[in-house]
């Protein structure tokens, strides 16, 4: 079903269980991120010299890692970087992709041809490998990570927007808008963009999930955020060595947090797809 069909039959929005579940999860994660200092007794990078790799207990709720840092506090504080980077990167991807797709989709011609061939080449690289390479060279500061993850995720949005615009262009109301005297800019931004945006905004939450996984993956192999900064992927990486000794808490807690957050985004994405009639 196209965006138009979906909006044509916009029913009263029914409460969608997946959407609500996802929103609750994300709200909790966001609250944890914002109030992390209040929720944890230990600062995330403070070293407790009396306990290294201590199992979960009353002193350290989730135990301590091999550096003697409090895992609970770090799991909470990590939400800041993980959520922040993912949301900022996806916002960047959506903005860049949407603009490029809208313009080349509407004006067509050689600009379109050239852009699409460029995207072909960019998309010939598996995304995570592209991310690894770019980050390995650009460095791993937070703004660089946002930029790299954002730009790498932009091409699908450009394609989606272009396809949407090209199919919208076949609709009579675009011709009607031209007859009514709209300029090309006004047709693009007043008439096409609002109608083409729905599928993109529906995908964005899913993309936030992938972006977090990408960031965590980069950190896991040592190319993203690095210890002592608190980030789930980096924490899992640091804890991986302890697993063989049976010390599970340094990986299980950050991993679960990562999984639940991504699940939250996926639930929201799936719920949005259901209520906009894109999937059953």
């Amino acid at each position: 079903m196209t965006a138009l069909e979906a909006s044509r039959h916009s029913r009263p929005v029914r409460i969608n269980a997946l959407l609500v579940a996802g929103a609750v999860i994300l709200a909790l994660v966001a609250l944890a991120a914002v109030f992390a200092p209040l929720l944890s007794a230990w600062p995330p990078t403070r070293i407790d010299h009396l306990s290294f790799l201590e199992p979960p207990g009353p002193g350290h709720l989730f135990g301590t890692d091999s550096n003697g840092m409090d895992v609970y506090s770090r799991v909470l504080h990590a939400a800041r970087i993980d959520l922040g980077v993912a949301v900022a990167a996806v916002a960047l991807a959506v903005t860049v992709g949407t603009l490029v797709g809208l313009i080349v989709g509407y004006i067509g011609g050689w600009a379109d041809e050239l852009t699409m061939r460029g995207l072909d080449v960019v998309q010939a690289f598996p995304v995570f490998i592209l991310a690894l390479t770019v980050v390995a060279f650009l460095g791993n500061s937070i703004p660089t990570l946002v930029l790299a993850i954002g730009l790498i995720n932009a091409p699908p949005y450009a394609r989606m927007m272009r396809a949407e615009v090209r199919s919208l262009r076949e609709h009579i109301f675009v011709e009607a808008a031209e007859c009514a005297g709209n300029s090309r800019t006004s047709i693009m931004f007043r008439h096409l963009l609002p109608n083409a945006l729905t599928p993109i905004l529906v995908i964005a939450p899913l993309n936030c999930g992938w972006a977090i996984l990408m960031l965590a993956g980069l950190s896991f192999v040592g190319l993203g955020v690095t210890v002592p900064q608190a980030e789930w992927g980096a924490m899992i990486s640091a804890g991986a060595a302890d697993i063989v000794g049976g010390r599970w808490w340094t990986t299980i807690f950050p991993g679960t947090a990562l999984f639940i957050t991504v699940l939250g985004f996926n639930l929201v994405g799936e719920g949005l797809q259901q209520i906009t009639g894109r999937r059953r």
């Binding site: 598996p126 592209l130 990986t251």
Partner: protein, 336 residues
Amino acid sequence: MRLVVFVSRRLALLAPVLIGVSIATFVLIRVLPGDPVLLIVPETATAQDIADTRERYGLDRPLVVQYLDYVAGIFRGDFGSSITTNRPIATDLAQRLPLTLELVVLALAIALVLAITGGLYAARHVGRWPDHVTRIGALIGNSLPEFWLGLVFILVLFQGLGIAPPPTGRIGTGFDVVRVTGFISIDAALSGNPAAFLSALHHLMLPVMTLALVITAPMLRSVRASAIETRDGDSFRCAEAHGLADRVLSRAYLVRQTLIRLPTLAAIIFGNLLGGSVLIEFVFSWQGLGQWALRGLLLRDYPVIQAFVLVTATAYVLVFLLADILQAALDPRVKV
């Protein structure tokens, strides 16, 4: 005939993409900040040392000449040598590529079987429990970080239950398998040593399981959704209204239309697998292409990175070509 035309057209379209890929790979590594020469020379090097090194690696010549040299080298099978180990890259590739392929291909095959059977089964029972299980499973699978899932498997199945081997490589220690094909399980089978073969399979268990579980999820969802869409569509309804037998209905009017979109999705998944294998190889000390590349990335060993990116991108593009051909075979509407 139609497919022959199609394949030749697609092959012709492939060339510019591959040229673009090779240029992008080449340029990417040179325009990004970080002078590779500074990584090669010792910290005490003088300006003269640096210039000498630059000349030795041909980095003082114009970019175009460097590029052409590079491409000519690739056609001779010469990817240069690693800056850090001095080993020829082609040798490393030949040794490590089969290890990664074994992992990736096996995972994809298992995932495809799971996704197709599960998706069709769920679609047949829409709204009942097999469907709910499938949907929840797919949601979870889509949200799991593969590297963490691998670690959880190690924790539970090796550390806890002891049914999996330790995550220390491709095959148990003490087996000396003569390399024939490079694919260890095949080589182990060829060696006539059943214990070695079993050990090779045993070591495949966890990493393949991890990758397969994670990539099954999106394909499962897609198969289920398009099976439902096809079944509710007019062409299926019309065949149903004309009283066709269930067997003909599902074979000719449901399955084929359902699978039309799968090849393209599977190709995208293959790309994710190539990326995911870097993480999984890291977890299981697999010593495949991904782990090799990771070392290169961390040390900025640019010939290694260049070769890795080029090889994966080429593999990805070729798999996409394969997917396009499959899709054209399934769907007569695809324009040749």
